[in-house]
Amino acid sequence: MRKQGKAIAMISGGLDSTLALALVRRQGIEVKAVNFYTGFCITETQRRKGGRADGSVPRNEALRAAADLEVDIEYVDISGAEYLDMLVHPKYGYGANANPCVDCRVFMMRKAKEIMEAEGADFVFTGEVLGQRPKSQRRDTLRIIERDSGLDGRLLRPLSAKLLPPTLPELEGIVDRELLEAVSGRSRHRQMELAKELGVVDWPQPAGGCCYLTDESFAKKFFDVLDSREAAGEERRIVPEDVVLLSTGRHFRLSPRAKLVVGRSEVENALLEHHVPGRARLEAKDVLGPIALVEGEPTWEERMLAARIVARYGKGKDASRVAVEWREGELVETYEVEPERDEARVEALRI
C-alpha cells in the first residue's frame, strides 16, 4: 500500500496546471493549491478596469480550477519589494520582453517550499511541461529552478515526470510514477486527450500567458522607468505604484526627469485620480478630455508640451486654443495652449 502524502500545487488555472492537479488528486494525495499574486496579471487588471471590451468580466481561473477539483486554495501575495527587486536584477536574465521567467519561477518555488514546510507537505508540483516555453521550461532551466529554489528532489512536474529523473515523492512511494505523464513540447494534443480522460471540461481559452511582463509594449514602459531613473542619477528600481501606472494610459517620455500619462477611458481617468499625490494633474477646462498626470520635474517647455498633448486628446483638439488646468498640490495654474498638431512629434515621445 502506498504511503498517504500531501502536496502543494502551484496553479494558474490554465489547462496544464489544472491537469497536473487532477493527475495528483486521482492518486488520493491530499492537495493544497496556491496561487501567487504578482501584480502583473493581465486578467486581474482587466477585472479591475471593469472587464473586457465586450462587457464580460473574466473569471479568476485559479479559483475556478480549485473549485472544479474541490481543492483548498490559498492566495499568496508576493507583489512586494523583494519581488520587484528580482524583476530589476534577474540572475538568469530576461526573455523576449521584461519577463525574467526563470528567476520568477525560482522566487515562487521558494515561497512554495516555505508553504510546503509549514503545511507538513511532502512535495510541490506544477503544470510545467518540458520544452513548452523557450526559456523557463527547457530541461536545463527546469533543473535550475529546482536547485535554486531549494526544492531539490521535492519538485514534481506530473505532466512531464516520465521524461525527468524520478523525484523523492516517487522514490518514497508517495506518488506512483506510472500514473504520471510524458508530455513535452508545444503541441497540446496529449493535454486534450488527458482532459477527456480526467474529466476536465473547463479551462481558459485561448491558452497562454497572462503576464504583463511578457507584453512588448508593457516591457518598453517598464524599461523606460528603469532607464530614466538611471539617467536622472537614481537607482534602477520599480515601486508598486509604478506597476499600476504602467498598465494604465498612454505614456509619453518628456525627459529623463518628466513623464506624462494620459487616461484612455473613464475607468483609466478614475484610476489616475487615485495617483495624484506627488504628481501634477492636468485636465482641459471647458471641453471634455482625459485626466493626465505628470511625474518628475518638468521644465517650463515640458509643461507646455504636456498641456498641448493633453489638449490634443480632448474634444478641443481642433480648437485654436485650449485652457488646460495644471494642479500640483496647492498650486493651480491654467495654461492656454494650442493642441499639439505634430503627430510625428507626439508619436516620437510615446513610450
Binding site: N35, Y37, E70
Partner: protein
C-alpha cells in the same frame, strides 16, 4: 439570510484581496458561523461561490446592493 457573526468590509480592495481577507476571517470563525463580506469588486460575484466550493465552505448567497456586493458564507463543519 442568517445573521452574520461578523461583517468584513473589503470595499475598495481589488481582486484577489477580498478573497484573501475572507480566507483569513473564516479561519478564525467558529464552525457553522456566518460571515458577511462586503465588496466593491464585481469579481466577488463569481469568486465567492468558487472559493466556497474549493474550500468546502457554504456559499449562502451573493447579492448586489447599490455599488457593492454582499456575500454570505457559512464556515464548514469539519
Amino acid at each position: 439570510m442568517p445573521a452574520p457573526v461578523r461583517t468584513l468590509d473589503t470595499s475598495g480592495r481589488l481582486c484577489p484581496f477580498p478573497i484573501v481577507e475572507t480566507a483569513k476571517a473564516v479561519r478564525v470563525l467558529d464552525e457553522g458561523a456566518v460571515l458577511l463580506v462586503i465588496s466593491t469588486d464585481a469579481g466577488i460575484a463569481t469568486d465567492m461561490p468558487m472559493w466556497c466550493k474549493a474550500t468546502r465552505n457554504e456559499h449562502l448567497g451573493t447579492f448586489r446592493d447599490g455599488a457593492s456586493w454582499k456575500s454570505f458564507v457559512r464556515k464548514r463543519a469539519r
